[in-house]
Subunit: 332 residues, 4 copies
């Protein structure tokens, strides 16, 4: 497959290099609003640096990877599927659920594959946990817990454009909760505070938050987020069920342990997502190309992207109103 | 100090034997509605089996330990302090907050010490964590997480009289959350389901539950409970703060680990509270007698008992109404 | 059973208090060359402080616990069994194997039970490992590894009288290796160095040592010792076999773990043997009294004491000559 | 740098693909006695499949990687350095120390760089441990322990040509012990048994072995090996010193942990060396190319290869004679 990459920033670079490493895909073109970024990645991968339009209008390109800023995602998805291309797009499709819905209608009409980059589903540890969960190892699912803490908060300027913590950061955890619960949440309650950086609070957002969700059959999900963790990028999941518990956790920088009069010391955990999820990014692209080649719809789908967004919207509202919010994802 | 024990059941027996092991306290009398229970413990400890009234009216007894059924606690506390005795009482004072308040007024009038048996504060691991938290090791407190899962659900008959999961089981976690937060919660939101035993649901209670609480300054507490955990009595706390994280966890039955083609296997965790909290029960009584001898008010106090009950009441209400409940513990 | 205690030092005190806690044994008399030590323990236990001779000649005493200095053990064992008493004696019977053999002949003639205090066999973790090993969980035994490190070296004056590291410290590990191997070693090779304290080297002893042993069928045991470990009392065993591995390790002071920019930190391990082996000392006495009451020979026996001593003698010789030493324990 | 690869088997393939991933090296030619192996790797890397002679006589090739069978190593090293090429050679240079010495004389005369593939030094965990050890974190080194267990024994036909366990398998651990001890061993004592596969014993080799070594200043190293571990490829190192302990261990297949009535279960450890040491192989080649480009002699050197071989020879002799063997590596 011939592949075009839209966006040559940090995450675009990861995907571009991962395409190069695949025997079944050929990265032919890279576009970025910053010409230097495109040129640099093109040089490293053997692709050409071109404009986004050139990629979209190049009939020989089978698939595009969209790694541009969020506010361009929906337009680019629509343009790409309309041009007959398979699309992999970084989360989220848009910060506005209505816009996502319109975009998905367009995608549906074209019948082209769209996959959303919820990379954590492809982490080998989390994927193994989910697979064992599905095989019944924990029995009936009762409580899903997701802990997600970034090493340090983003700049306030980023925060202001981000759609808020629930849409920007916790959206990954909403997707993970759905992935693990295997049943849609029907109710969302959220609490948030600005404890890490007062400027984040002044910008109207929170940096510390927790959510409770419940499904129709009574399964419970709890999520907590912080924009700062001194010991690294904290990424943990745990599922409690009728037969037992399954959990998967962090990866330390090395396995070295020291023991002295101060006790036993292990390394901080891997920091940050490029390192922690390196294998997940590879597996994610593998799933995309495998689905496209096999003529199957890739997962997570655009609808998965919409559902996570609806949960993030509900949490944002709950956090502001102080009241739980009812959602109806099965009709989304 | 001469000590009388009211209630010679499972927990009364623990406390009675712990009194015997102390050089500064002498267990002189044991009472129980079941004469055999009293006689058996009396024989094991060298105390006399007598009636509760005999203990309360014996002027030579300095302190009483109340380990009777919950519905007798408030009356016995009032009778004991009125008789001039220091009182240690198992949680809760009563299932009705109004009754607790009246009881505490009586206690206040007598000026006698009253300590409530929130044993987990005295677990050496949790106590060390709290002490290091207070010393600033995690910095400013941001998220307190408490996980508490019993090995197996109690009989439905017990559940019916228990006041419900939030008052019967999660009350320990409300106290732990207050102990760790170092600031009173102002809002409580609870979700509950009957997933473990349908009969518990038919009895109007839940067996799986989660709570979110927030303090005035924005600190967040999350608690989750299950009435069943196949791998033992699951008791974990974790505090995330500006400087890092402190957590304390379970104790496995032994340190033995096996490794085979199926992987590495460690023992289940200690099961159940008599084993897991054996050291906590000893340290708890030590705190009681040390406070009494030093003329200081013991902690956790009757007021701590009331505050945990108010949180449990709020969670019960939230779970039923589906709405968060505002509480005002500083005025309790 | 009525029990007399010879020796009211650190370890005698442990055993004395453990007797008091048993319903089936009554500590009636305590003797010590230091009258204050005897009086203090007598006061704490309700026993009488008397002379050793008084204990040995008191026909009502069924069992004696010998916790005196090593050079008195053999004489006291002989006197006690000759006086018709069951004997529990701290390791070793004597630093001289020939003296041990003579002592065991006397014991044999009287037919009285003699148990040697290799407490580590009774550690609940090590005992569980051995039991699972015997049940075949690791398959055929191939490599037994024992690591034993004291927190800090003893005074040189103690070292001079101790018989040397192999007889004083590693003797416990020789017994543990025999316990786990389930086949007698036939060859011993030892290396030792004075790396911790030069004065120990000047006194002709070593403070850091390692041993390799082999059994007739080819099983291998490796032991290493250090007289100093900054992180606590390091006590680990591991058995590798045809079906897998079983290991049991240290117990940290608490389960608290902190995470900061410096990484994840757990407590040092329990320090020292009185704390680490508290449960083992209780279980050891339980085995002694249970065997005596049941009319069975207690284990580890005097012969076990002799065999460990023979291995320690062989290691001492190997360390000095630089050559492996052949031993024949099956004929011991 | 232009690179030629001799040997396109399992390990040659790893190195070949790692060269391709480097921006500073270009894999131009691959040779293998099995034409299909060479052709397959050539196709995957864009290199040409040619004869070994063609690589050695191609003046444009700067460096060769030798991944052929052991009995060809010394000849190929000599031919390659004589042809002016930098050489990376898989361990060992030869099974005969005298042949290694002659080869190193030839290398020395040409002045060309030679690096030996002791890959474990480059494992990120072991490298970090060594670096922290060198920085003094454990203080003065006292006891070095290396445990190395393969998942399953090789075919007996392989064993017969292998030079024996000490030269074929434990040679890695001899190198690791030297790497960590930072002082040459002067004495070697070895025990070996055939416990895993009787056919290995009939072939005159052992499959289970342990070694003790001592340095001039009294540092102790203990190594143990098994040709079989049911739970994966067991690779552990531990260094005990005056200030504490440093250890580094295995990597489990995933971080998933389950908890049920049978206890807590983690995955087996990574199996086998291609997976466990994937990062080490990359870092190893990086060290080789970095040294070559910087005009520095790469490490581990041919002399390191010789010294590990001398220790393996000594262990083989000790295992056969039952006596310790003195070695003099500083004069090697």
């Amino acid at each position: 497959m011939k592949v075009g990459l839209l966006g040559a920033g940090r995450i675009g670079r990861i995907h571009g290099l991962n395409v190069v490493a695949r025997p079944d895909a050929h990265l032919v073109a890279v576009a970025d609003a910053m010409p230097d970024a495109a040129a640099s990645l093109a040089a490293a991968t053997g692709a050409k640096a071109v404009s986004a339009d050139a990629i979209l209008s190049d009939g020989s390109i089978d698939a595009v990877l969209i790694c541009t800023p969020t506010d361009t995602h929906a337009d680019l998805i629509e343009a790409a599927v309309s041009a007959g291309k398979a699309v992999f797009c970084e989360k989220p499709v848009d910060l506005d659920s209505a816009r996502i819905r319109r975009c998905l209608v367009t995608v549906e009409k074209t019948g082209k594959p769209l996959m959303i980059g919820f990379n954590r589903r492809f982490d080998p540890n989390f994927a193994a946990l989910e697979s064992r969960l599905r095989a019944g190892e924990a029995g009936a699912i009762e409580i899903v817990s997701v802990i997600s803490r970034d090493p340090s908060p983003p700049p306030v300027e980023y925060v202001k454009r981000s759609g808020g913590l629930f849409r920007d950061m916790m959206i990954h955890d909403f997707d993970m909760a759905r992935f693990l619960l295997a049943e849609e949440p029907v109710e969302v309650f959220a609490l948030g505070s600005a404890l890490v950086d007062p400027a984040i609070g002044q910008a109207g957002d929170v940096d510390t938050a927790a959510v409770l969700m419940k499904t129709a059959s009574g399964r419970i999900a709890q999520i907590s987020n912080s924009r700062r963790a001194t010991y690294g990028y904290d990424q943990r999941i745990e599922v409690h069920g009728s037969k037992g518990m399954l959990r998967a956790g962090n990866i330390h920088e090395t396995t070295v342990e020291s023991a002295t009069g101060q006790g036993f010391r292990a390394d901080p955990v891997q920091n940050f997502f490029l390192e922690r999820y390196a294998a997940a990014y590879r597996a994610e692209l593998d799933a995309f190309f495998t689905a496209c080649k096999g003529g199957k719809a890739p997962t997570p789908s655009g609808l998965d992207g919409l559902k996570a967004q609806i949960l993030a919207d509900a949490a944002t509202e709950s956090s502001k109103t102080g009241k739980p919010v009812t959602v109806s994802l099965t009709e989304a």
